[in-house]
């Protein structure tokens, strides 16, 4: 009897807090549908009057369209996710389930580099990509994301927990190493791979610092960079257009989040700790 009560005693304040927490997002959506003159009205007008759907048609068409940038972000994210999944799965598997000379030394080297923040590597990457002609191309964003130490760790952690007997049995039947990997261990790894895929997608989709440094031509902006197109030289933001483009930039991550919520939260929280 008390528990039914206490559910609401905690529930009501938490929901009020949650609504306050959501206020910036509500403001974003509201402003995306408003004329710029209404954006800073006092008091704040939550329901746009009139609705300015034009903001969305402006950021989705013509010279101001963010769709090309959206496409580039999709392209970058897909290649990064695919590349990271392939290389991390293979390497993680070998570190866990195969033995070869220098394996443990190599793994220690991986361990040591894992805590290096990406920001520290931006200066040399900037220089190298200029020398290689990759500066100001999408490859400067894609290539480093395809070969990650962290992804290799996650996959290794999983494969280490799998029994070795599966492989022994398959080898008895004459399967080679590649077959053992692709037919036996890889199918078991799909939950971890989807967790890693989600992480890689979100990192890639939201990355702002790397393209800020490595992309300069507005025709090659990825989506986060392109949101700054609606700020003029004096730093004046066009509220309606910026917020409409921001809403569009959030949609893909939000869809992944809603559809795969359980797996998404597990990927974000568990992978680090366990």
């Amino acid at each position: 009897m008390t528990s039914k009560y206490s559910k609401w005693i905690w529930g009501v304040p938490l929901w009020i807090l949650a609504i306050a927490f959501l206020a910036p997002f509500a403001w974003m959506i509201s402003t995306a549908l408003k004329a710029d003159v209404d954006a800073y009205k006092i008091p704040m007008q939550w329901i746009p009057d009139p609705f300015q759907w034009d903001n969305f048609s402006t950021v989705l068409s013509g010279a101001t369209s963010v769709l090309p940038a959206f496409g580039r972000s999709v392209f970058v994210a897909l290649l990064r996710v695919a590349g990271e999944l392939i290389t991390a799965t293979m390497a993680g598997y070998a570190f866990a389930r195969m033995s070869f000379k220098g394996r443990d030394k190599l793994f220690q080297l991986y361990l040591a580099t894992a805590i290096i923040p990406a920001q520290l590597l931006l200066v040399p990457r900037f220089i190298y990509f200029q020398k290689l002609g990759l500066y100001d191309t999408l490859w400067a964003l894609i290539l480093p994301g395809m070969f990650t130490v962290l992804g290799t760790f996650l996959m290794r952690q999983f494969f280490v927990s799998q029994p070795a007997e599966f492989a022994e049995a398959a080898r008895m039947d004459g399967a080679n190493e590649w077959r053992v990997f692709t037919r036996i261990y890889l199918p078991l790894a799909t939950p971890v791979m989807s967790a890693l895929g989600i992480l890689a997608f979100v990192w890639s989709w939201n990355d702002y610092e790397t393209p800020l440094v490595l992309i300069s031509n507005p025709d090659r902006y990825t989506l986060p960079l392109s949101l700054t197109n609606f700020v003029d030289e004096q730093g004046q933001i066009a509220p309606g257009l910026t917020m409409a483009a921001s809403v569009i930039s959030i949609v893909p991550v939000l869809i992944v989040f809603v559809v795969l919520q359980r797996r998404f939260i597990a990927a974000m929280t568990h992978t680090g700790i366990k």
Binding site: S3, K7, W10, G11, L14, W15, A18, L22, P24, F25, W27, M28, T31, A88, A91, A94, F95, M98, S99, F100, D104, L106, L109, L111, T113, A114, I115, P117, Q119, L122, V123, P124, K131, F147, L150, T152, F153, A167, E168, R171, E177, N206, Y208, E209, L212, P224, L227, I237, M243, S246, S249, I250, V253, L254, F257, M268, T269, T271, G272, I273
Partner: protein
Amino acid sequence: MATATVVAAGTKARTEQGSGIRPSGWIGFLFIAPNLLGVLAFTLIPLISVVVLAFTDWNLVSGLGGITFNGIDNFVAIARDPGFWHAIGLTLVYVVVSVPLTVVLGLALGIALNRPLPGRAVLRAIFFLPYIVNVVAIGMTWLMLMNPKAGLVNQVLDAFGIQPGWFASSHWALPALIVMAVWGGVGYCSLIYLSALQDAPRQLYEAADIDGASAWSKFRVITWPSLLPTTIFLLVTLIIGASQGFGLIALITAGGPGDATTTISYYMYQTGFQFYRFGYASAIGLVTFVGVLVLTLVTWRAQRGRALNDQ
């Protein structure tokens, strides 16, 4: 996130040796080769380069030929650079205020979300939401929300008679960034705590209930110690994150007004990519990284020491 994985992997590497895996010769190396070549090209070589560059005087204008080694000159210059120390001070304030605040509020929220609640799954998702949205969309939104004259935040604060200048004021710009950091990180911390709370030792709580222990003493004696590894993990990841990110500052304040938000990561970004002083920027990056490493190790040690004393 990386750090804890590293620790976990390190301990496992030792226990797993000699588990009867058949030697696979060079085939195993082939499996690793694609990843290794990429890591070599895009992580290891840049890492070595940044260390080498830190001992050179080099800028974009002088070109590759203009690279000259200058020994420890950069580090001497850093020690005497008021801009560097100003940035370090700002970063310390930013980290020391935002990180504990985020962790404590995240813990409170995690404990609250661990109870039976109406619409609990939705609540969790709501608090987590800021964590998955790109920094530009969030930054632009808050910049307008915190407009000193007509923003929603000051409309609300008007009821309390305060009107901070936020990003337009050199006093309020850093607090504004801290508000954003806490808002963005609390939900993430609460979810990490939540998953740790669900692994908490249930029998201990039952025993404590039988002894008639108060809610506070149960928290102090059972919950808090069992959450200690999680707290350390969060402190370490948040300290690293807060001291390395420059995206939001580049977007919203460009280090200003004046140099009021020129944190160390932004200072490095400015030195490297606006003034193109690659050698000096590399040295700043290296010094900062070592500093953060020491800071996190101290946190780690301090917390571990306290855990041992408690027992």
